[in-house]
């Protein structure tokens, strides 16, 4: 039983470490596009944030 005095705190530390990795993974965008990760190599442009500001300056869409 004595080993528990060490193992329980260790397990807590381990979980906190996993949580830290999770934080890094999510915040750095690892989970942003899960649906089309396979198509990433095909996209030419880098995943730049789309501009939202200048709808006026965009050329009129044409089919």
């Amino acid at each position: 039983m004595d080993s528990l005095y060490l193992l329980i705190p260790l397990s807590v530390l381990l979980v906190l470490a996993i949580a830290a990795i999770l934080v890094w993974a999510v915040i750095s965008g690892q989970f942003d596009r899960l649906d089309d990760a396979g198509a990433r190599a095909l996209r030419e442009e880098p995943d730049a944030p789309e501009d939202h500001t200048d709808a006026a300056s965009r050329p009129p869409a044409k089919d």
Binding site: Y5, A19, G29, P49, H52, A56, K62, D63
Partner: protein, 777 residues
Amino acid sequence: MRSFCCYGCAFIAEQLFLAQAGARDREALNAAITPSADAATLLAPTAPTAQARVEVRGMVCAACGLLIEHQLRRLPGVVQAHVDFTAQRAFIAYDDKLVSRDEVLREIRRAGYETGAAERDARRAARVDLLRVLIAWLMMMQVMMLAVPLYLAAPGDVAPDIEQLMRIASLILTLPVVLFSAQPLYRAAWSQVRIGSIGMDVPVVLGIGAAFVASGIATMTARGHVYFDSVTMFVALVLGTRWLLARGLAAAREHIENARRHSTLGAQRLVAFPSSLATESISAEKLRVGDRVLVPPGETVPADGVVVHGRSSCSQAWLTGESTPIEKSSGAPVLAGSVNLDQPMVVEVTRRGEATSLAALQRLVDEAGRDRPRVVEFANRVAVYFLWAVLAITALTVIGWWIVDPAQALPNAIAVLVATCPCALSLAAPAAFSAAQSALAQSRVLLARTAALETLAQVNVLACDKTGTLTTGDPSLLKQLLLREGDPEQMLAIAASMETMSTHPYARALLHAAQTLAMPLPTLTDGRVEASAGIEATVGRQRYRLGKIDFALPEKLASQRGGVAAIVTNEGLAASSYIVLADDAGAIAVFAFGERLRDDAPALVDAAAARGVEVVLLSGDRREPVQTVAKALGIERALAHQTPDSKRSWVAGQQSAGHQVAMLGDGLNDAPVIAQADVSIALAGGSMLAQARADFIVLNSRLSDVEYTLAAAHRARRIVRQNLAWAFVYNVVIIPMAAFGFVSPAVAAAGMAASSLAVVANALRAKNVRTGGARPR
């Protein structure tokens, strides 16, 4: 004073109240919204020099959008403000010399909403939301690991100091959940308290708070029971469910928004018309009155106008529901949104932008949308009573035990708070809806508003459009009549061969019908197309004419016209349109066209009837085709010659008679009705998605998917009811037991956990939707 679901509704109610009643309401509202004439002249040079598209968060219903528009239009320099509730976006056109983008954004925030100034913020917010869910689940699993041994151990098995160590470990692991993951719950609860409209979040936060504080005290004093496992599991389940729901909604919105962004109506303006046919491509918004535009076959007319050159036929099905193409020649007016069918035309613009019939339809939609403030969700209304009941019982418990045994007062009060399960209540609806939503997404049905699922299950009238909804929009060959001895297949082959020269819908229908023929199409020579009349060509050595009766039977054969027309009438084909194939000797065959019912239409009508939903046909088309379709499907009520506005008032009439009406259409020409109806479904695949506005959008344009949607809504409702019933029974049993001190802490925690799990497990069944017929894969 009643409470409102959001600032927007409160605002609308206030405006309506101020304006008293009746027709003055809208005038008053408009007067309040549009700047007065003086202001307009003062600001005369105001022309929009900049536009902004802003993501707005925190809108609860369409009324919020109106509130924001109202606020924005009061700002000097803002020329146009339009808020799209479905897309959660605001479109603002403003003069950047008078007002800055930041001021505009600040105005939206002042109205009580959040703006996502840039996509980066939204992306960051999405990441944080995901993180909250993941952290909650990770910690839940770990806390469970520590909790389960204690549940399983016999008394005395675990040394007291080990147990204390496990409690402290659980506390540490629960802290991130309570401090970080649950933040959105606190925020929601606080804003509900602040505006005095209690929702589900308040009891939820109260439950979390009570359990956590009680467990914290128990850990500090090393006495009593800890509920960390319940807290983490509850937060994980609530957040997980809400995250799934939100992600589904966001995906649907993005889909619609992308389609809209890529489908600005274009126009081909003729630069110097009579002398040259050179065109430039511009956006339809930039057209001016007097401009001449070229409309090639298959394209949409970009603005209301008059045909100045060319002769063609146009389909106005999207606007009026009329299925038969209408002839347009020089001088004929054409409406924006109608589709040119066979020959290029030159159209002179007479009205543009705001004034066009398409825009007028759009305005009708907006008005109808505003007339429909949503009631607060059922669960939220229950939450208020639930909250007060729990608080009252807790207070009674404290008072009662204070008299009997003061030492038991606090533990029992906490037991009441913890054992009471707001989880079942708060998870009941969202979990089932999110499961149903994901089932719908798999069959490519977009859900734009979660509450729509709930409403759809209550609907008892399903109003359907005809053209393009119950029928395939394009005409198809219904019947071929031979007027002379001959091989029908050969005649069809000749006609189809001639029609390869045309792009008219009838030509497509003939070619489609000819695909089933065994023989190859004969080659033809010396073909000639006369616009909007017919085709003349030589096949073999015979000269054939195919087209309208007057064209196929020219002057020298005019005596036959009456006879052919009589035969056609005798066949009962008066309602359908037909073309005639003739040679030099006279008429050979008649091809009759009409709309064909969709294959899955009868199944939908039957399935609706089986669920107690009456299908009503509302069509802009003429009486005969409407009656034909109604009879074929066994629909009792079918209304012909309907305009968008008369459809809307019919729906409003049904609603005031106490019915809940769902509208099924293509999402565009029925737009005003769609907004008026309690809930709406649009069959809109491909390019039509861009214009479609509805609560459900069926991307595959299949009626079987509509049936599926209906089934999903009913199933979700049944499951929500089961969940609510379970939550009710559980609480009725556990609360008195907890109040009287019969519930040991372990039982309270286990009960709370089991209740949440049962509700979620039951909700997941909402995914397995079964319809009457076999599901097409």
